[in-house]
């Protein structure tokens, strides 16, 4: 039930700058996700919000109240640490009850709440174990339960589900969301699972090398990435450098040197990202938008052969080699092994004009 | 084990040492002694100059020497044991640790000052005295006899070296009991006397240095101690001390010298035995190190010896050796007021 406001935050460790000039406003009750490659500064940012690091520069505010130097224990945040940080000398129960004891909750109430939350993370029968006797995923769930049980104002989750299987992860996600909605807890979530980020978040911030690249809702981020880094980082995509050729009615025509041909793109805000005059341009097309062997006139159609078919469960990836340098990935739903392409088959691919997005190259 | 005893020995009188005996000696002699580096080094130099023998010494408390000689019984290291109260020598004799030797100056020794079997002989004597702080108490005020110490006006003025660990103090305490015991055959009266002393005692110090310090700084102003140490402290170290020799008589300890049984260098040991109790040596020890010689034939002794009239108390050492552990145990368990240690002031 707090907003979190980071203004021009920088954090350096000696000569390493982990977070650089970050501005973020996270709304009350929002489910906000940090996405970004390993080592880009997500944990560091969370730790500044929790109060374990002081920013080298900048301010952390909760509800307009400056918290930059407030000690961690006065911030009422609940954090799941990336390394769990379970108390080795306590049992599962004691670990989870810790935050409640600090809050002077009565014994019976504590017992009840710990029991409840452990049931939610499916650990009720492990309540009296020492944490060293748990499996990795079980430990992670204890860490999650410990943060959830205190119903904090702000929940900081650093890859809280990374060691859980898909099913459990699903259940935990639902649980986190339910709690978050019920108490309106502002939640900041770090994950490497894109599906997780895209399905749960109200908004997402994408980081690279300590710099925030884009903030937006999941569909914005996925469908309207602002640059090639975001486009490539979220979801699968094929990127091809292009140059602007001309405008042709509703469409813009670009030229791709790699394909040796023109590319037609609808001239909408969805298809053409904001960019400056002298930016290098890149086209991005998601594999699920690509159609194989369809009849669609002659624009944006290229011939090639299937170089690899990859089965991934619900969907099948087909890699089509257009020429030496360019392989395009197409994804289709798995409709049984009989529908898969054979490797080596000659096919033509169609890149729908309204599914292509033209974006500038990210500046370093 | 700390504590260390402070008992010193001394010796006196000439002796038939002789430069002629330089031959036929082993090349080395090992001496255990509590006499301290100063004395030992000086005698080392002189002895080595006179004989071609390398003297080595181990400088330690007399109780420690006894322990050590005992523990080295199977592997004897020492030749001579120079300095310790006769009690220690008697114990060692009982344990069969000593060798017989009758020195050339035997005639100059009173019977009181040597073992009947010549297992050891006395080198110096140490009378026990009442020690007082001259800054706090004038010579007139000072107690004149043992019984004066019980005067209530000395309440919390007496500092006593914890008696169990000290040969000097054990002797004094035992003597106090013995004074009446010899007549009554019962220690009761003596216990009562000690009880009263305990009431006047401010604290029991663990070692002599602390006792000196406490008396010197006026924490207490009185103690009982031996005469040579007191003189030495006053004259050499500048302590504000003086002493009173109790009028009714005082116990006199004899310090002696002995040759260890199975000594690895017996000849050299005998040479050293003789050497440290020549007349010249005794005189030197008296003048420089405040030891009163046992030899009666030493001349030109310092004033503090010749001027002093010591009345030795008659003591049955054998009885002491037999009874004193019991008496002291009784004192420790029944008389000593544990609060009189330095607790919670």
């Amino acid at each position: 039930m707090s907003t979190v406001n980071l203004s021009t935050i920088t954090k350096s460790f000696g000569s390493v700058t982990a977070v650089n000039d970050l501005d973020l406003l996270i709304e009350e009750g929002e489910f906000f996700t940090f996405l970004g490659p390993s080592g880009c500064g997500k944990t560091t940012t969370l730790r500044m919000i929790a109060g374990f690091y002081y920013p080298t520069k900048g301010k952390v505010k909760f509800n307009e109240k400056d918290m930059t130097t407030v000690p961690p224990e006065k911030r009422n945040t609940g954090m799941v640490f990336q390394n769990y940080a379970l108390f080795p000398h306590m049992t599962v129960f004691e670990n989870v009850a810790f935050g409640l004891k600090v809050r002077k909750i009565s014994k019976t109430e504590t017992k009840k709440r710990v029991g409840d939350v452990l049931r939610k993370v499916r650990l009720d029968q492990y309540i009296d174990r020492q944490v060293s006797q748990l499996s990795g995923g079980q430990q992670q769930r204890v860490a999650l339960a410990r943060a959830l049980v205190i119903e904090p104002d702000i929940l900081l989750l650093d890859e809280p589900l990374s060691n859980l299987d898909a099913r459990l992860r699903d259940e935990m996600r639902t649980e986190i969301l339910r709690l978050q909605r019920e108490y309106g807890i502002t939640t900041i979530y770090v994950t490497h699972d894109q599906v997780e980020a895209l399905t749960m978040s109200d908004r997402i911030a994408v980081f690279n090398f300590g710099v925030c690249q884009q903030v937006g809702t999941p569909t914005e981020i996925y469908n309207k990435p602002v640059n090639d880094f975001v486009a490539e980082f979220i979801g699968e995509t094929t990127l091809l450098p292009i140059t602007y050729e001309k405008t042709f009615g509703e469409k813009l025509i670009f030229h791709s040197d790699g394909l040796g041909d023109s590319i037609h793109v609808s001239n909408t805000e969805l298809n053409i990202a904001a960019h400056e005059e002298n930016d290098d341009l890149i086209m991005s097309i998601r594999p699920e938008a690509i159609q194989i062997d369809s009849n669609h006139g002659e624009n944006n159609v290229f011939n090639g052969y299937v170089s690899l078919v990859q089965f991934t469960g619900a969907s099948v990836h087909t890699y089509i080699k257009i020429n030496e340098d360019i392989t395009i990935r197409a994804t289709d739903l798995n409709r049984g092994p009989s529908t898969y392409f054979k490797e080596g088959t000659e096919v033509s691919v169609y890149l729908p004009e309204d599914q292509i997005r033209v974006i500038p190259k990210a500046r370093e | 084990m700390a504590g260390g005893s402070s008992e010193e020995g001394s010796k006196s009188s000439d002796g038939g040492s002789g430069s002629d005996s330089g031959k036929g000696l082993e090349e080395k002699v090992v001496v255990y002694s509590p006499h301290g580096k100063d004395i030992l080094s000086e005698f080392e130099k002189q002895f080595e100059a006179e004989y071609d023998v390398d003297m080595e010494f181990l400088d330690m408390g007399s109780q420690e020497i006894l322990d050590r000689v005992r523990s080295e019984k199977n592997n004897t290291q020492a030749d001579v044991w120079w300095g310790a109260p006769q009690v220690n020598f008697d114990q060692a004799k009982d344990d069969g640790l000593l060798a017989e030797y009758k020195p050339s100056y035997a005639d100059a020794l009173d019977d009181m000052y040597h073992d009947e079997d010549w297992m050891w002989s006395g080198t110096s004597i140490t009378p026990e005295v009442i020690l007082y702080n001259t800054k706090e108490i004038s010579a007139e005020e000072a107690p004149k006899d043992w019984d004066d110490l019980l005067d209530p006006k000395w309440e919390d003025e007496i500092i006593i070296r914890y008696p169990l660990a000290s040969g000097t103090m054990r002797t004094i305490y035992s003597s106090m009991i013995y004074r009446t015991y010899k007549d009554t055959q019962s220690p009761e009266e003596g216990y009562k006397w000690l009880q009263k002393l305990d009431e006047n005692t401010k604290e029991y110090s663990a070692n002599p240095e602390i006792m000196y310090n406490q008396v010197a700084k006026g924490v207490g102003s009185l103690s009982v101690w031996n005469m040579p140490d007191t003189v030495m402290l006053a004259e050499e170290k500048g302590y504000p001390f003086d002493y009173v020799i109790p009028e009714s008589g005082t116990p006199v300890l004899t310090e002696g010298i002995a040759i260890i049984k199975d000594a690895p260098h017996p000849k050299a040991a005998e040479a050293f035995y003789e050497f440290v109790n020549t007349k010249e040596a005794a005189k030197l020890l008296a003048e420089k190190y405040y030891r009163i010689p046992t030899r009666e034939d030493v001349e030109d002794l310092p004033e503090w010896i010749t001027e002093t009239d010591i009345k030795p108390m008659e003591i049955d050492w054998a009885l002491f050796q037999e009874k004193s552990p019991k008496w002291m145990e009784h004192w420790d368990n029944k008389i000593k007021n544990t609060e009189k240690d330095k607790s919670e002031e």
Binding site: Y84, P88, H89 | M1, K217, V219, M232, D332, D341
Partner: protein, 561 residues
């Protein structure tokens, strides 16, 4: 079936057991047997005596010993743990320097050290009289003596055990654990009591054991400060002086039984929980403090602690600078000069004892270092039957009074035995290094055990998995990780070995007389000044050694010291 693990355990245990049996158990057995004898005949008389007719005194002594030891543990912890916490957890100006000072108390030579205390805080001492004069009081405000004196000296000299073990344990705690507790809303004190402190348990247990046992066996402090106060270690001494060696043995056995019960209790206490840091990955960031008020508060604490800790050393220095007779009845010393040092240095052999002490300590510490590591590794990381027994064996040299250990060694090695390779050791150079070795085994084992308890097993497994043989793993992975603990133990052992007195006095020979004997002899000759000067040489010497250790082995004093 003897699988590879069990075989390894066995290989580890054989040398450990050989040494323990040969140099600890075998000598001690003599004491045990003696306690069951009266005039050479087997009997329980001594024990019936102990609890029977002599009960009043003995039981009182026993009770006093336990009482003093428990309080010593308490007060040592009270000083050592906070100091370690402050010096290791906060960054403030001068931290490095203060943390070096923090272990100075062990550098204080035992006998003259206690005397320095009396000159400082006794009834005629500098501090009370100074306060009296400054405030114009009619009486001195306080002075030490008796129980309070013993406790003060114990706390002062023994808190480094807590300081050192706590320091190395603190540095092994994953900081994210404390962060997690803060994050859950607990304040500083709660985090300390509920998370940090329990996680320090292995270190605290180690230190408590060491302090409890030293206090039980402590001699100088009760003897010097409270001559009549009855404690078991003094009873032993007096029994011995009174010639009742069998009763002394009985009392020693009882003293060790009490100490060992405490050991078993602590082991049980620690065994109930798990203290291995088993976080995923490694989180090691020192929490940042930038509250200026706190900073200056810390600096103040540092300075005050430093002054108090160094006062005895300063007193010793003063004593060494006062010429003979310059400070007898006077409250304050009257004149200063280098006379004592000059007198000392006139003696051509002055450096012999120093050299002896150094060589013997180095020898003993090298042995104890190797042996301690192996033994505590076996104790912590290997499972076998009879672990408790092994642990008791290890601690016996610490549970017995030093004199008894010395006596035991004399009895065991004054005739040829297989453990002395058929030689008589008493009276030779080697008996003293051996004695130091035996005496300080427990110190290194305990401090090593404390850090080992915190080490996550999977680190060792990772090394094995990469193909490292056990010994390689041990050398390259285990030892570097536990090094802080080992070094702190070894350094403590070294410092104490250099100043060791109670066993030295029984065992030294002409060829290997150590420093402490020299100091003792000066004292016996009433040369307090020269004794103090010698003490200062010892202090300086140890300081140099620690500095070298710090410089050349990269031993960070906040880790090890």
């Amino acid at each position: 079936m003897l699988n590879a693990e069990k075989r390894k355990t066995l290989y580890l245990l054989i040398p450990v057991l050989l040494i323990l049996v040969g140099y600890v158990l075998y000598p001690s057995i003599e004491t045990l047997i003696k306690s069951f004898k009266i005039n050479g005949v087997f009997s329980l008389q001594n024990y019936t005596d102990f609890f029977g007719p002599k009960a009043a005194a003995n039981l009182q002594a026993l009770w006093n010993s336990v009482y003093i030891s428990l309080l010593s543990v308490f007060f040592s912890a009270l000083i050592g743990v906070p100091l370690a916490y402050i010096f290791n957890r906060y960054d403030f100006p001068g931290r490095q320097f203060f943390s070096n000072i923090a272990i100075m108390p062990i550098v204080l030579p035992s006998l003259v050290g206690v005397m320095a205390f009396m000159f400082l805080y006794g009834e005629a001492g500098l501090v009370p009289n100074f306060i009296k004069d400054v405030l114009n009081l009619s009486e001195i405000p306080f002075s030490i003596g008796g129980v309070s004196g013993i406790l003060l000296v114990h706390a002062y000299t023994m808190y480094p055990y807590f300081y050192m073990t706590t320091s190395s344990a603190l540095n092994n705690i994953d900081p994210s654990l404390e962060e997690a507790a803060y994050n859950l809303g607990s304040g500083k004190s709660k985090v300390f009591w509920k998370v940090t402190f329990p996680l320090l348990t292995p270190g605290l247990v180690a230190a408590s054991l060491l302090v409890f046992m030293v206090s039980m066996a402590s001699f100088s402090a009760p003897f010097l400060l409270a001559g009549g106060y009855r404690v078991l270690s003094l009873q032993i001494y007096f029994s011995k002086i009174n010639g009742d060696l069998e009763m002394a043995a009985t009392q020693s056995v009882i003293l060790s039984v009490v100490s060992i019960s405490f050991l078993l209790f602590m082991r049980w206490y620690q065994g109930r929980k798990d203290y291995r840091m088993a976080s995923k990955g490694i989180g090691a960031h020192r929490s940042e403090v930038n509250n200026p008020l706190l900073k200056w508060f810390m600096v103040t604490i540092g300075i005050i602690a430093m002054v108090i800790l160094l006062l005895p050393h300063v007193t010793l220095l003063i004593l060494s600078l006062v010429p003979e007779g310059g400070w007898t009845w006077q409250t304050y010393p009257q004149q200063f000069g280098l006379e004592n040092f000059i007198l000392l240095f006139e003696d051509p052999d002055i450096w012999d004892p120093v050299k002896n002490s150094l060589i013997m300590s180095v020898l003993a510490c090298a042995g104890v270092f190797v042996f301690g590591i192996i033994t505590s590794y076996a104790l912590v990381k290997r499972s076998f039957i009879g672990k408790n027994l092994l642990d008791i064996l290890v601690m016996i040299p610490w549970a017995l009074p030093a004199t008894v250990v010395g006596m035991n060694l004399i009895l065991a090695f004054n005739e040829p035995s297989p453990f002395s390779f058929g030689k008589v050791l008493v009276g030779t150079f080697w008996i003293l290094p051996l004695a130091y070795f035996v005496r300080f085994i427990p110190l290194v084992v305990r401090s090593t055990t404390a850090v080992l308890e915190q080490m996550d097993d999977s680190i060792e497994e990772a090394a094995q998995n990469l193909g490292a043989k056990w010994f390689y793993t041990f050398r390259r992975v285990v030892i570097p990780i536990i090094m802080p603990g080992v070094l702190s133990g070894t350094l403590l052992a070294f410092v104490q070995a250099v100043g060791e007195f109670p066993t030295s006095v029984l065992l030294y020979t002409i060829g290997n007389r150590p420093i402490s004997i020299e100091i003792m002899n000066q004292l016996r000759m009433f040369n307090i000044g020269q004794a103090a000067a010698y003490g200062m040489i010892q202090v300086g010497l140890i300081a140099i050694v620690m500095y070298i250790a710090y410089k050349f082995f990269g031993v960070k004093s906040e880790n090890t010291l």
